[in-house]
Structure formats: structure tokens, C-alpha cells
Amino acid sequence: MLYYTLKRLGLAGLVALTVSFISFGLLYISSDPAIAMAGETASDADIEAIRQLYGFDRPILVQYFDWLQRAMSGDLGKSYYFRTDVSALIAERLSTTMTLGVSAITFAIVLSVPLGVAAAIRPNSVIDRIALFLSVMGQALPSFWFALMLIVFLSVTFRLLPTSGSDTWQHFIMPTIVLGYYAAPAIMRLTRTGMLEVLSTDYIRTARAKGLRPRVVLFKHALRNAVIPVVSLTAVQFGFMLGGSIVVETIFALHGAGFLAWESITRNDLPTVQGLILVFSLFYIVLTFFADLLNAWLDPRIRIN
């Protein structure tokens, strides 16, 4: 188990490094950091001076390792736009995004797992059709449309919820629904498929034949095995949501890390974007890592492979 853990950790670190290097490269190609830092009213001389001062004329690899070195010690630099520490900026915005992400994935799981199980128990029934239809709706519905429609009905017309902002927990209800709904379809389908497969296996038939009560069969044996790919997928979906939260955060004026990421990209605020990418990919990697561990614990066969 220990060897497995170490191996996964090493791999995870390598992935994080690769992602951050590629992003670094992409950012540098798509905008000139000296101009971004100098601002719009700087003269050519100012820009050149900044280029020398901050070493923007060095080879990309050198600049990257310089950034990496400082990042390892927690110094993510200063935002070109806000002129404050990137780490402080991200920390402040991240709490909103995390709150949103966690409640959204919880909502997604609470919505999709029971639905997936119900659909698997009665394949091709009405429930199954509804579940499939809802899952397609979730993928084909533009999230901004869904978000604005919720606002129009729940906030403007019926005054049930506040429209935008992040002051109270009520402010998070609509964003959670929109973001969670976006992650739900994949989880639902996977649960359904997994349950369908498991329910037709030999050992379930054996359990039934032994006379175990259906509920015991369902939860103790079937679900435990069906849930394995779902755990991995949930981690993946959570990672995606950090990126998908851009639209939700923009519309509900939530000022989280997703909104910051998009705005920073369009403002050419390289240090902030670089810092956010590092944080996001680390989160994603940690999540999948824990998902793998959980799976290995649930199914010993995975560890040996």
C-alpha cells in the first residue's frame, strides 16, 4: 500500500509540473509580460526597462524555473493588476469557490446517485427514461441560460432568493443548483451503468439466491462495487467544476477563483493566472489521488495491479 501511495504521489507531482510549464509557455506566447506589467501608458523605454529589471528577456526555461523556485517557497509573485500578493489574492477568492464547489458536488451526488440506482433497478422504465432525458438536458442546457432563468423566477418574480453576491448561505443556493446540475449527468450515467453491470454479475445472483434481503444485496454488495468508478469520476468532475465555475461566478457576482481566472487571463495578469493554474491542478491531482486511494481501499485488486 505504501509503495502504491508513493508511486502515485510521484506521478502526481510530475503531472503538476508539466501542466504548470505548459501553461507558463502558453501565457508567454500569447502576451508580452513586459507590456502587461508596464501598463497601457508606458513608453517604449519604460517597457524595455521593465523587461531588463524583471528578466523577461531570459530564455523561457530559465524564467520558468525561477518562478518555480519562488513558488515552492510560497511566493507566487505580485499581481500585475492589483499589485498585491498573488497568494493572498487567491486564498481570499478560493474560499468562495470551494464553498460553491463542495455544495455543488454534494448536490450533484444527492441528485444523481439515487436516480442512477433507481434507473438501474428498473431499466427501460419510466424512471430510466426520465433519468436519461434529464442527463442530456444537463449537458445541452447552456449554464448561463439556466442561471439567468433561475434568477428571473426565484429572485425577480417571486422574491424568494437574493439575486447576486455572496453574503449569506441563501446567496449560494442558485449557484449550487446551476453548477451541480452541470456535473450531475456524468455521475448519474456512470452510477446507472455501473449498477447495471454489477447487478447482473454472478456474485449478486448468488447473494440473492442465498436469500439475502434485496436492500442488503443492493447497498452492501452492489453499490459498494458500482461506486468505484463513480468516486474517480466525482474527483474529475470536481476538478472540472473549478473551471466551469467561471460562468456561474460571473453571473451570480460571486468573485471567486474562477471569475478571477477569467478576468486575469483577459487582463494579461500572468502571475495570477500562473498561480491559479498551479492551485487548480494541484487540487485536481490531490482529489484524483485520494479517489485512487479510496478505490484501492474499496477494491484490493486495484492495488496489486
Partner: protein, 507 residues
Amino acid sequence: MIVKKYFSTFLAGTLLATGFVSVAQAGKSDDTLNVAIDRELESIDNYYNTAREGIVISRMVWDGLLYRDPKTNEYLPNLATSYKWVDSKTIEFDLRQGVKFHNGEKFDADDVVFTLNYLADPANGAKPARNVNWWKNAEKLGEYKVQLNLKKEFPAALEFLSGPIVMYPNDYYSEAGPEGMALKPVGTGPYQVTSVEPGKRYKFKKYDGYHASSPKGSASIGNIVIRTIAESNTQLAELFSGGIDWIWKVKPDQAKRIAAQGAFTTKNSSTMRIGYLNFDAMGRHSKNPMNDVRVRRAIAHAIDREGIVKALVQGESMVVNSLCFPSQFGCAQDIKSYDYNPEKAKKLLAEAGYPNGFETPFLAYRNRDFAEAMINNLNAVGITTKFEYLKYAAFRDKVQDGGSPFNFGTWGSYSINDVSAITSHFQSGGKDDYSKDPEVIKQLGIGDTSVDPAVRKAAYKAALSRISEEVFMFPLWSYNTWYAFSKDVDFNPTPDEIPRFFTAKWL
């Protein structure tokens, strides 16, 4: 499901259209004006942000030595009771006594000297540089007397001193610096800041100790909250549900319909911003059709400016023929202009050797629909475009690097009511100049440095005429802004596009 999806949007539209939506009394009932802006401010410190919203807040929180009256454009005394031009490069100010900063600090010559010398030092990086790089230093002549020494003759000096240059408290700023000021601003203005959530929300309270003799008058509304809401539909939803009382930069199609509903007040005001087409007249980017003046004239005749203004820009906008806004000092209007004449355009193109037109890259960063309408006009005379729509930062970079032979841009002159704030920016040989015409540069130089208004006017007219004659850049139209706000609010926009909340009242 499909029917349901359509029905719900239809229902929403109907509810709003029939005015079913009721409006809460939130704003007036707790004496708080809730304002929404569409972008995050980098800093609330006046000298470290360049957004228009920053300028609006600056007028609320700080005062300058003088104050430009938005209606008469006169320079009125504010923190300075009088001024005197000692010579063409020196100004003497008598300062107002009895003024206190929001934190109780006394206002006197030390604050003025400190502020002006701090700004003059390029190492401090105050933005934008052109606002602060024209004086050498300030000297204290007495407890309430200051002298300002300019670097060279600078006719726009009073314009800057009556707007963007505001006075900071020396004790507080030397200790807190820009970081401290950005989190806890201190000024002498009619509103003081009570809470700062950087980029998210700013809260203001009326400053009871505001000096009564200020030309800004005395504020009426007790509390103001400014929130950043990036999505325009969310701003509208907040307005409809009563969470927000005042929004601006409403799109004209939206404003029209809000006005038709009658539940809110909508007002339109012209701004100093103008749109323009920029051409690579001298071949800075490459040898391309824009090098030929006949092609540029053809394009000038091909664009239906009047039609676009009426259908798309709307409001109080109008076609402009000089590369400046008509109210700006030196903006001569009696120069060559181009009428909408596609036939003439085609003839000119044929003369220049393009009887079947040509293809050109075309760059823009805003008003995509205006750009599309212009592309349509160009297609009609045979010119096809490879259109690229970038964010402002990317657009600016590409243009200033010499990478765009043909682009559509706008300029608001930072509301400085002087031709030097726009024409000189684009045609004095700087990074945005794609023509670098020696004659234009010379005339603009004369206009920018002379202190004799007659000489300035003549020089600017010469420059503008030549620009128009050679179509180095083609002015399109002026922009306007729509404001939408609760019926409880009495607010009047000003043509400099700087909303003054200290003149707003409850009805």
C-alpha cells in the same frame, strides 16, 4: 421538455414586459444608493487605477485645488481659493483654511507639497503618467501658500489640476502608502469610505465635515454602496428586484425597452468618447492597400456613419468629422468631411488599382455589432476583411507593436476637455501613430506647448485639416451612455461621463 423550456423564457419575457415585476423600496428607505459597476477596480487609490469608475470614486472621496464645473467648463476654486500665473511656467496657489481630512488631519500646504512632489517622482509610478509628468516640483511658501513649478509651458495645466489631480494627506500617505490608501482611503471629499472589499464592493458615507464652500455642493444621499457585477443581465435582474438602484452603460436596445416599461428612469447623455478607424498610412506594418490615400478616402466614403449611428449607436450620439470631440478645446469643425457615397468609393478604389477590391485584416476590441455593420459596408464596395476581435489589452498590444494595418478603436480622452488628450495622443509620432506625418506632428507640437489660445486653435485646426485631407485616421461618431435608475432617485448625467453622486437626491 422543449415546450417547457421555451414557455419559461416566454413567460419571463411577458412578466417583465407587462411590468408585473414590482420594485422594492430598499434604496430610499434606508438612505442607501446601491450602484452596480461592471468591472473589478485594481485599486481605489486615485493614482493607481485607470478605470472610469475609479475617476467617479475619486471625485467622491477627494478634492483637487480647482474644480471644473461640468456645465460651464469653468475652473472654480476648491481646495485653492485663488491662483496666479507668476510666469508661463510657475503657478502660485492660496489654499483654503479650515478644511479637515476624513481622519481629522488638518489640510494645509504640507499636504499639497507632499502630494505634488510624490506624484512628480517617476519612481512612484503614478498612473497615467501623462497626468503627472508635466511639473517639476512644488514649494511651500507659507502655511496656506504653495508654488508649482512646471517643466515646460503646459496649457492644459489647469484642466488637470481641476480634475484628476487631487490632494492626499501627507501624514497618512507617507505612513500607509498606496497599499494603505487602497484599503482605507482618506481624503477631503463629500463622501468618506467606510468599507473596502477590493474588487468586490465599496461602501461610502456622507462626510459631515465637508467644507461648505466647495463648488461640488453638499451631498444629499447618506450612504452609497458600489458593487461589481460583471454580467449585464444580472445587473438588470438586480435593478428589477430592487437590489440595485442605479446602473449605467446599459446597452441601447435594453435601455429602450426598460424605458418603454416605465418602471425605471432612463437617461442618455453624450460622452467625449469617439470611435475611429486607423490606417497603416506609412506602411509601418507592411506594404498594403492602406498606404494609398485614395484607398483611405474610398473607405471614408464607404461607411454609412449616419445609418449606423441611427440604428445601432442611438442615443445622443452623432457623426464626428474631426479627430476629436466637438466640445474639446481646439476641435475645429470647419474641415474637409466625407459623405456616404459607395459609388465614389468604388471609383476611388478602381483609380488606386483595386477595381475588384481587396482583402485586409481588420481589428477591433469593442462594439462588435458596429464593426460588423462597417464590414458590411466595406463588402458592398468590394473590400473583404479578415476580422479579429480581441480583448482591449491584446488589441492595444498588437496595435502599438505595429501589427495592425486597419483597426477600429475608440478613445475617451479621460474626459479631458482638450484636443491634446486625443489627437496628440494618436498623431504625435507615438506608439499608436501609423502615419507619423511630419506636418501633423509639427502642428500638434505647437498646439500642445503654446499658452496662447489663438495660436493653439490655429495649430490644431491645421493638424486636424491635414489629418482629414489625408485620412490618416477616420473619425466615426461620438459615444453615449445610458443610465437606468430607480424612480426614487433624482440624478442628472454630465457630458464628461463622470457621474456625480454628490449631486443626486432622493425624490
